[in-house]
């Protein structure tokens, strides 16, 4: 049997389980936040099973196809089917923590690979959770930057209406040129 070891990290994230589950099962958008993912693509989804493929940024050009098993708002588990993934299982567990927050744990079952000692791989669970926490803030109704007295000058939002721009309190709907 091949040598494997586990890596795990947990954090409280200011987002409800439903939002986290939505992000974690949106495989087309993984490249926007997940470390080491250059491009993500959902191939198929049926019920609690999805098939997705990812291009990795390290090693550059590596391609992985994965099967993903979901438990709505609670768990997302990924197993590689094809390609050179240095893990045999990646699992996100989500628990409601009250006050619109969630306790999120990322567990990796890693295969023996020198990559785990270097770069983004060395702290992947921690980095991935930090990136997820930063990414979810994009969906918050308001964000607190600049303190309570800060004046909002500009805001860009992507919505069903299109790209919305708030400039000095006025709303503009931006059209594609």
């Amino acid at each position: 049997m091949a040598f494997t070891f586990n890596k795990q990290h947990a954090e409280e994230i200011a987002a409800p389980p439903e939002l986290l589950y939505e992000i974690l099962t949106d495989y087309d958008s993984y490249a926007e936040w997940m470390p080491l993912i250059g491009k993500g693509h959902l191939m198929a989804r049926e019920g609690d099973l999805a098939i997705a493929e990812f291009d990795l940024t390290s090693p550059q050009g590596a391609h992985v196809t994965v099967e993903c098993i979901h438990t709505r708002n609670r768990m997302v588990m990924t197993r590689p089917i094809a390609g050179a993934a240095p893990f045999t299982r990646m699992q996100w567990d989500i628990e409601a923590a009250g006050g619109g927050k969630s306790h999120v744990t990322l567990s990796l079952r890693c295969t023996a690979n020198i990559r785990w000692l270097t770069g983004a791989y060395a702290n992947l669970p921690k980095l991935a959770l930090r990136s997820l926490a930063a990414h979810v803030s994009a969906f918050a109704a308001e964000i607190s930057i600049g303190g309570p007295d800060g004046e909002k000058l500009l805001e860009l939002m992507e919505t069903d209406e299109g790209l919305i721009c708030w400039l000095n309190g006025k709303k503009y709907v931006m059209k594609e040129a």
Binding site: I81, A134, L153, E155, T159
Partner: protein
């Protein structure tokens, strides 16, 4: 267990027809010289398949189909293999371009053949089968959708889920300068 995933540019019912058309396996399955149905019982079909690889092998294979979702196969008889089993699972491609086929295969050639060699053979076989299936289906005329699939089609093409509003950038003026939030990252610009 060796696994592979391929995208076949054809609707699921057509891919399913090819995979369950056992007597036509010699038209596309690499190395298949003969395929004969020996018994049918409901969704279970017993076959005799002759494969020419390094040597000519005759296998009794049992296929159990699952109403368009996929099928499993298992070894009934073989003078060369101790075990041979697996499955094809079919899913509609998310981008509407065809069918995603997930293949699983377990091969046991006995104690005399090392595991790594068996796995390599199984991987090659699974990849070759996938490529051959893709090429064969491409040459077929478009098949009429069965009533069941036609009913399911409008549901698949239903309205897209509303997009959750997402912030891209915020700029705030503060006492000391500007705070910029961009895709989850904060920057401070001092005046």
């Amino acid at each position: 267990m060796i696994k592979a995933v391929i995208n076949v540019e054809a609707p699921r019912h057509q891919v399913y027809q090819v995979l369950t058309g056992y007597e036509r396996y010699q038209e596309w399955l690499p190395g298949c010289e003969k395929a004969k149905v020996t018994a049918v019982n409901g969704n279970t079909t017993d076959t005799e398949i002759v494969i020419k690889s390094m040597k000519v092998m005759t296998m009794g294979l049992r296929f159990v189909s699952d109403g368009g979702q996929g099928l499993t196969f298992s070894l009934l008889s073989s003078s060369d293999l101790k075990g041979y089993s697996g499955s094809y699972r079919l899913m509609d491609a998310a981008d509407g371009t065809g069918t995603v086929v997930i293949t699983e295969m377990e091969l046991d050639a006995g104690a005399m053949v090392p595991r790594f060699m068996v796995d390599r053979m199984a991987k090659k076989s699974i990849d070759d089968t996938g490529n051959a299936l893709r090429a064969y289906v491409k040459k077929l005329p478009p098949a009429a959708a069965p009533a069941q699939a036609a009913q399911a089609a409008p549901k698949a093409a239903g309205p897209a889920k509303p997009k959750r509003a997402r912030r891209i950038m915020t700029v705030r003026k503060t006492g000391g300068g500007f705070q910029v939030w961009y895709m989850g990252r904060e920057f401070e610009l001092k005046a």
